[in-house]
């Protein structure tokens, strides 16, 4: 079967499993003709898949859920990163981030709209920090890192694995503070499909997830080799070491690829996610978790 997959962003190190699977022909072996297209953020990917331009989206499941609540026709079919990577990152030695209250002392660079803002709001709610307690400067994603290292801001909010790798790449040590450990039950990466494609593909979705799982296992077993292969196949940003760093950072937050429940999406997860979205006012009540996901393609 022909499957068009939309990624969440342009090729990044954490997409290595897909590159490996493609390069080694795993999808073909399983009788799938998979084609990947790069994306520009999970929101856009949700729209692209919802519009039917693509069958499957690899995207942040929090965004996916939010998109579904906005009426975009999608169904979550798998989650392999049950803990959000959202975190605060500073430079080691310059800042100390142990307690939620520590954050009130620093200037925080954050991107308005999108997941940054969402996780921040949930974090505040969960830890009883009022909006005025935090000193937040809004800035674009690409500006955040530079501003952090130039000292314009003390802390930035963002995905831990990405910013840790960037900070280390620039010769500093990161001091990071994972929101998932402080009451933020958001979900990370997973897969969502377009209902039309779901009908057409059926069990092929299962096959796709199975093959992808196998690739993840392989990458987890040897990130170095995966990075070497991925960098040879695609134009990936950053050095080889950065790639490995990035990869392992994300794997640490993901379900063990060897485990049986890799990629499983549970009602509990989805309900918790939707509840928290409702609590912060991102979506209205009266939702039905079953409309958001299905685990029938779980391998």
């Amino acid at each position: 079967d022909e499957i068009k997959v939309a990624l969440d962003w342009a090729w990044r190190p954490y997409h290595a499993p897909f590159i490996v699977a493609l390069a080694k022909g795993y999808y073909e072996e399983a009788g799938l003709d998979v084609e990947f297209e790069e994306g520009r953020g999970s929101n856009t990917t949700a729209q692209l898949v919802g519009q039917g331009n693509y069958d499957i989206g690899h995207l942040n499941i929090t965004n996916a859920a939010h998109a579904i609540s906005k009426g975009i026709p999608l169904r979550i079919v798998g989650v392999y990163q049950p803990r959000t990577a959202a975190s605060f990152i500073g430079l080691e030695g310059k800042v100390e981030l142990n307690e939620p209250q520590d954050l009130t002392r620093y200037r925080i660079g954050s991107t308005p709209g999108g997941s940054d803002q969402l996780s921040l709001r949930i974090f505040q709610l969960a830890n009883d920090i009022s909006e005025t307690d935090l000193n937040i400067v809004s800035m674009d994603g690409s500006t955040k890192t530079t501003a952090l290292m130039a000292g314009q801001v003390d802390v930035v909010s963002g995905d831990s694995y990405a910013y840790n790798a960037l900070v280390r790449g620039a010769g500093y040590q990161p001091e990071s503070f994972l929101l998932a450990e402080h009451g933020v039950p958001l979900l990370g990466f997973g897969f969502a499909v377009n209902p039309g494609s779901e009908e057409r593909l059926g069990d092929s979705i299962t096959t796709f997830l199975e093959v992808t799982k196998r690739a993840f296992q392989e990458v987890a077993a040897d990130p170095e080799a995966a990075c070497t292969l991925a960098r040879a196949e695609r134009e990936l940003p950053g050095e080889h070491s950065q790639c490995v760093d990035y990869m392992t950072g994300l794997l640490a937050l993901s379900t063990d690829a060897g485990a049986d429940d890799w990629g499983h999406v549970s009602e509990g997860q989805v309900t918790a996610l939707l509840q928290v979205l409702e609590d912060v006012g991102e979506m209205d009540g009266g939702w039905e978790a079953s409309a958001y996901y299905t685990d029938k393609y779980f391998p």
Binding site: Q47, T111, G113, S138, M139, D140, T143, Q152
Partner: protein, 280 residues
């Protein structure tokens, strides 16, 4: 309109004058019709088309919200939008004025000296041809956040058209007229003011019109990159949370602002160069 009279009117001429004044009145109405009614009509037609497209193609809200939805949102969040607008207006205006002054001065320097032309122009072209997004972080680190960086974005955005049109305009002076003021021993400065600048104005106004309507775009992009206020900030927030009605409300306000600037620039043009063929 014609109070001052050069000839004494004859009876027939009085009749002509009446006829003429009728014509002038008609022309005035036609102008009002063309000047406000037509744009209004075309605006309404555009909105209708939009509404139709949304219903006809059954476009979902997240893709293209219907105008009515956008208007509701606009009314709901009017105060917030207005405070954002104000910020953007300030950044655009200040930035545009700086670009205008700087652009004309630099343009004059380039038009006057071949050496300045050759040394400076390539850098301006480079500054214009560089995607601002890359240098944005640099700019921010040096200048900091807030209004200042917004203004600088606007300047960078609007500077170039003004320079180019000023240079072409200043170089367009009739050689004969230059010889005329040379015979009156005008110095460079006077030649500039009395001949070159008037000749350049029609050109410069092209540049100004392009730049002026570009100013809000510059401001919004500046706010995109780093700011806590302004319509650009509103936009990025709206887009980030898939709140398309709010995004389109911001966009509409930006457009209205842009169109307003446009008509202002046209008005200033009309008043500044009534003598030019394009305005007669």
């Amino acid at each position: 309109m014609t109070e001052l009279r050069i000839d004494n009117p004859s009876a027939a001429e009085t009749e002509d004058l009446a006829e003429h004044q009728r014509m002038v009145r008609r022309a005035k109405w036609l102008k009002i019709y063309h000047g406000s009614l037509l744009p209004l009509l075309s605006g309404i037609a555009g909105l209708l088309l939009w509404e139709l497209a949304v219903w006809g193609f059954a476009l979902p809200q997240y893709l293209l919200p219907a105008p009515m939805q956008v208007f509701e949102t606009m009314i709901d969040r009017w105060p917030v939008l207005m405070s954002h607008l104000w910020y953007t207006v300030v950044a655009s205006s200040v930035g545009f004025v700086i670009a205008l002054v700087l652009g004309i001065v630099v343009g004059a320097a380039i038009a006057t000296s071949r050496s300045i032309d050759r040394v400076l122009y390539p850098w301006l072209v480079i500054a214009h041809a560089i995607p601002k997004v890359v240098v944005a972080p640099l700019l921010l680190v040096w200048i900091g956040f807030g209004l200042k960086s917004g203004i600088i974005f606007v300047v960078v955005f609007t500077f170039f058209p003004i320079v180019v049109s000023t240079v072409t305009g200043l170089k367009s002076a009739e050689p004969d007229l230059l010889q005329l003021v040379k015979s009156m021993r005008a110095n460079r400065w006077q030649t500039m003011w009395k001949i070159r600048i008037p000749t350049a104005l029609p050109h410069v106004f092209s540049g100004i019109k392009i730049a002026a309507t570009g100013a809000p775009v510059g401001a919004v992009i500046g706010e995109f990159v780093a700011s806590n206020r302004g319509l650009g900030y509103a936009l990025i927030q709206a887009v980030g949370s898939l709140d398309t009605p709010y995004a389109f409300a911001s966009v509409i306000i930006i457009s209205v602002f842009g169109v307003t600037i446009w008509y202002l620039a046209e008005l200033v043009e009309k008043l500044s160069i009534p003598w030019h063929a394009s305005q007669r």
